[in-house]
C-alpha cells in the first residue's frame, strides 16, 4: 500500500467520523456539557473562597477532563461494531492500525480539543490568571490526545462486553494517572513560578509513547473483540 493512499485513507476516516458527529451532535455536546457541569460543581461543594479555588483549579479541570473523556469512550467503537463497519475495517486492504488511528484522531478532535478550548472559560470561574490559563490550554492540548490513545485500548478491550461502559473506566483511569499528575502539575508549577517546560515536555514524551503503542494495542484488542 502506497504512502499517499494510507494518508488519504487516514484523512477519509477522520472526515467520516467528523461527518457522523455532525449529523448527530448530541453525543459531542453531552460530553462538553458534562465537563462544564462537573467543573462548576466544585466551588459549590468546596466554598467560594478564591484563594482555595485558585489552588485546586488545575486539578479540578484535569480530573473533569479525564471523566469527560471516559464518558465518550464507550461510543468510540460501539456504533461501528453494532452495524458491522468494524468488521469491514478489520477486512480492509488498508492496515487496521491506520483506520484505528484515524478514529482516535477524530475522537480527540471531538472530545479533547473542545475540552481544551473550553478550559480557559471555566478557568475564569476559578480566578486563574491569564498566563496560567494559557499553560492550562497547552497542557490539555498535549495531554488529551494521550487520553484518547490510552482510552481507545480500553474501549477496544471492553467492546461488546457486559457492563463495558463502567468497566472501561476501571481499566483506563489508573493508566491516566501520569497524565493527570503532569497536566495539573504544569499549571501548578507555572503558578508557583517554577515554569511548566519540564512538565510539558514529559507530557509530550507520554504522547509520543502513547502514539507509538496505542493504535497497535487497540488494533490487537479490536481483533480479539471481533473474533
Amino acid at each position: 500500500m502506497a504512502e499517499t493512499s494510507i494518508l488519504s485513507t487516514l484523512g477519509a476516516v477522520i472526515r467520516r467520523d467528523l461527518l457522523l458527529a455532525l449529523r448527530r451532535k448530541s453525543d459531542v455536546l453531552t460530553t462538553l456539557f458534562f465537563f462544564v457541569i462537573v467543573v462548576s460543581l466544585f466551588p459549590l461543594g468546596i466554598g467560594p473562597e478564591m484563594a482555595m479555588l485558585r489552588q485546586i483549579a488545575p486539578g479540578v479541570l484535569w480530573v473533569a477532563a479525564l471523566l469527560a473523556t471516559m464518558l465518550s469512550l464507550p461510543r468510540l467503537f460501539a456504533a461501528d461494531h453494532a452495524d458491522g463497519t468494524l468488521e469491514q475495517m478489520a477486512l480492509s486492504a488498508v492496515p487496521l492500525g491506520v483506520l484505528v488511528t484515524g478514529k482516535i484522531v477524530a475522537h480527540w478532535l471531538l472530545s479533547g480539543l473542545p475540552l481544551a478550548l473550553l478550559a480557559p472559560v471555566l478557568g475564569l470561574q476559578f480566578d486563574l490568571p491569564a498566563d496560567a490559563l494559557g499553560v492550562m490550554v497547552l497542557a490539555l492540548l498535549i495531554g488529551t490526545p494521550v487520553l484518547s490513545l490510552i482510552g481507545a485500548v480500553g474501549a477496544g478491550l471492553t467492546l461488546g462486553v457486559r457492563g463495558g461502559g463502567v468497566l472501561v473506566s476501571l481499566l483506563v483511569l489508573p493508566l491516566y494517572v501520569p497524565v493527570l499528575i503532569f497536566g495539573a502539575g504544569a499549571v501548578e508549577s507555572h503558578i508557583g513560578g517554577l515554569g511548566a517546560t519540564a512538565h510539558l515536555s514529559l507530557l509530550a514524551a507520554f504522547l509520543a509513547l502513547a502514539a507509538f503503542f496505542g493504535p497497535w494495542a487497540t488494533t490487537v484488542a479490536l481483533r480479539i473483540a471481533l473474533e
Binding site: 463497519t85 468488521e87 469491514q88 477486512l91
Partner: protein, 203 residues
C-alpha cells in the same frame, strides 16, 4: 484459488463442525447450506480471517491467509449480516465511504452508477435512515460493484431483497463468476445462477 482443510469450529464448549475441507477454483460459486446454528456464519468469518479455526487452515493460492494478511484482504470482499450502512449518511456517502474504508476509493460518478444499477435511482441522496431494509441491503451490496475484488464472501445476501432485486443480484454474481471471480455464499433459498455452483452442507 481458495483452499480450506479440515476446519473445525468451536463455540463455547460445543464443536459446531469439524473436518470441513473444500477447494474453490476461479469462476466457481460455493453455496454453504445448513440449519440455523450449524455454523455457516462462523465458517464464513473463518474464511475471511476474522476468527481463527480451532483446527485446520485456510489457504489462498497456497499460502495461509494469516501470513498474507492485507494481501489477502485486498482480494476479499465480505458482506455480513450487518450491512455496515450508517443511518446518518446518505446512500451515496455510504457507498463511497465503504469503498474508501476498504482501501478502494471511488469517484462520485461510479458510485452513482453502481447505486442505479442496483435499482436505487433517485434515492442516492436520501439518508439511509429513511430507506427500507431491502434498500439498505442494496446499498450494502453496491460494494460488490465498486470494489474490484476476486473473492466474494456473502452471508445471506438475499435477506430482505424482493424478487427483482434477487434477479438483479444473481446477474451481478454471474458476471463476476464469468470474469473468473469466486463467490462463497450462504442462503436459505436457491439462487438462479447460470455459473458453476458447488454445494457444501454443514451438519
Amino acid at each position: 484459488m481458495l483452499e480450506a482443510s479440515n476446519l473445525e469450529c468451536v463455540r463455547g464448549e460445543k464443536s459446531l463442525f469439524r473436518g470441513v475441507s473444500f477447494r474453490l477454483e476461479a469462476g466457481t460459486c460455493l453455496m454453504v447450506q445448513g440449519a440455523n446454528g450449524s455454523g455457516k456464519t462462523s465458517l464464513l468469518r473463518m474464511l475471511c480471517g476474522l476468527s481463527q479455526p480451532a483446527a485446520g487452515e485456510v489457504r489462498w493460492n497456497g499460502a495461509p491467509i494469516g501470513k498474507l494478511a492485507e494481501d489477502y484482504r485486498g482480494e476479499l470482499l465480505y458482506c455480513g449480516h450487518a450491512g455496515a450502512v450508517k443511518d446518518e449518511l446518505t446512500a451515496l456517502e455510504n457507498a463511497r465511504i465503504s469503498a474508501t474504508l476498504a482501501g478502494a476509493p471511488v469517484d462520485e460518478e461510479s458510485a452513482r452508477t453502481a447505486l442505479r444499477q442496483l435499482g436505487l435511482k433517485g434515492r442516492e441522496d436520501l439518508p439511509a435512515r429513511v430507506l427500507s431494509a431491502g434498500q439498505k441491503r442494496r446499498v450494502a451490496l453496491t460494494r460488490l460493484l465498486l470494489e474490484k475484488r476476486k473473492l466474494w464472501v456473502l452471508d445471506e445476501p438475499l435477506t430482505a431483497l424482493d424478487r427483482a432485486a434477487v434477479t438483479n443480484l444473481c446477474g451481478v454474481i454471474d458476471a463476476h463468476l464469468a470474469g473468473g471471480g469466486m463467490v462463497i455464499l450462504t442462503s436459505h433459498q436457491e439462487l438462479p445462477l447460470t455459473g458453476r455452483v458447488e454445494h457444501l452442507r454443514l451438519d
